[in-house]
């Protein structure tokens, strides 16, 4: 990945008209976006704002709006992203699918013996440092936890402080 990011060729940023070439280009960008967001722990891409992956000052090239839409729409089709708004200006990137997040959380909880914890601890507690969970998007986390709830693996409850919630896992 670092090779590609170091010097993205100009052709990568130009939407290719030939179908087969376009398909490869879309595939490539889907991987790039997922990898980048995972490594930078980013969850939201806003099409109307600058996004480091989409601009390369070295080659003085940025993806066109249309190109960004095409690549993100492809991720959405594959279930690896979701449009946050109707006008398709903001995109939630699921570099792990909700189901995968749910599994990851369960494994994490088992390994660390955390039967009861808070949402905030999952997001920023000491145990989560260096794991994928560190800094997880709150919305994504809640969806994963609710999925676990449906499967009877967890219970979400209101915490002692007004703005915090806790989770009890049954592993």
């Amino acid at each position: 990945c670092k090779f590609l990011l170091h010097s993205i060729p100009k052709v990568l940023t130009c939407l290719q008209p030939v179908r087969e070439t376009r398909e490869k280009q879309v595939q490539l960008w889907k991987e790039l976006i997922l990898d980048y967001c995972r490594s930078q722990k980013m969850y939201i891409i806003s099409l109307e704002e600058d996004f480091p992956l989409f601009s390369n000052p070295k080659i003085e090239r940025s993806l066109s709006y249309e190109a960004k839409e095409v690549f993100l729409a492809a991720l959405v089709s594959e279930g690896r992203a979701e449009w946050i708004d109707k006008s398709h200006k903001k995109c939630l990137i699921l570099w792990l699918r909700i189901q995968d997040w749910a599994n990851y959380i369960l494994d994490f909880v088992k390994e660390n013996g955390l039967e009861v914890t808070t949402i905030e601890d999952i997001r920023s507690g000491i145990e989560t440092h260096g794991t994928e969970l560190a800094g997880i998007d709150r919305g994504v986390l809640m969806r994963a936890l609710r999925l676990l709830e449906q499967k009877g693996k967890a219970v979400i409850f209101k915490g002692s402080s007004a703005d915090d919630e806790g989770v009890k896992f049954s592993v």
Binding site: V11, Q16, Q27, L28, E31, L32
Partner: protein, 233 residues
């Protein structure tokens, strides 16, 4: 508008003549007579040529076709093996002097080449541009030359423009662009469009292994590209 009415009437009659002539055995003398009358009437009005003249025209096109094949061979070869049809049209008519042929005649003459063993062919690009090319000037040969041009270190980084290709292939820039677009369609090249114009590159997308995006192929084109790119920056 009277003239227009006349035209419309004459056209209707001509159409009727045409459909009647293709009808099966209408060898009724009476009908033949009235048909002849109609043809004479139309001839005197001087609007449309009767059916029989069109049949005779077939021989005309065959002769024209052979003449054209003989004529174009040298100019097309001199132009690098390919020449736009419009240019051939001008050259040919200029050579003929007063007996000018129409674009339709030219096209028809070219289309007849398929039936004869001539060293030239008519070829239509996806964009609609028609050219005459020598049969030895095959696509594969052109692709090989474009491919080798596109893989030179300079071209890997900066791509090739239609003028670059024209220079290498020895043909007109407009035709060179057609070749580049054709090569792009076949997946040999990819493009970059910028304010500076069109540039084509060897299709790097073919080189990227999507299963192993992080690992450029050890001895592939992409590896070469990366070394050049890192050196350049």
């Amino acid at each position: 508008s009277k003239a227009k009415e006349m035209m419309e009437l004459a056209e209707k009659m001509r159409q009727k003549l045409l459909t009647n002539s293709s009808a099966q055995s209408n060898s009724n003398d009476e009908e033949m007579g009235s048909k002849q009358d109609m043809q004479d009437l139309l001839l005197s009005v001087g609007i449309v040529s009767p059916v029989t003249k069109e049949t005779a025209g077939a021989l005309y096109h065959q002769q024209l076709s052979r003449q054209l094949a003989d004529f174009v061979r040298v100019p097309v070869e001199r132009a690098g093996g390919m020449m736009a049809l419009v240019d051939v049209y001008c050259l040919f008519n200029r050579a003929r002097g007063t007996e000018l042929i129409s674009p339709e005649d030219l096209l028809q003459a070219c289309s007849l080449w398929e039936k004869f063993d001539v060293p030239v062919m008519l070829r239509k690009f996806d964009s609609g541009v028609k050219v005459i090319q020598t049969k030895t000037h095959s696509d594969d040969e052109v692709f090989a030359r474009i491919s080798s041009l596109a893989q030179k270190p300079d071209a890997l980084l900066k791509g090739i423009s239609p003028s670059d290709a024209a220079f290498t292939l020895g043909i007109a820039p407009a035709l060179a662009k057609e070749h580049l677009l054709n090569a792009e369609n076949k997946g040999l090249l990819c493009r970059d469009v910028s304010p500076d114009g069109f540039r084509f590159y060897i299709n790097l997308f073919n080189e990227i292994d999507l299963q192993n995006i992080h690992l450029p192929k050890a001895h592939g084109l992409y590896h070469t590209w990366i070394s050049l790119a890192t050196a350049a920056h």
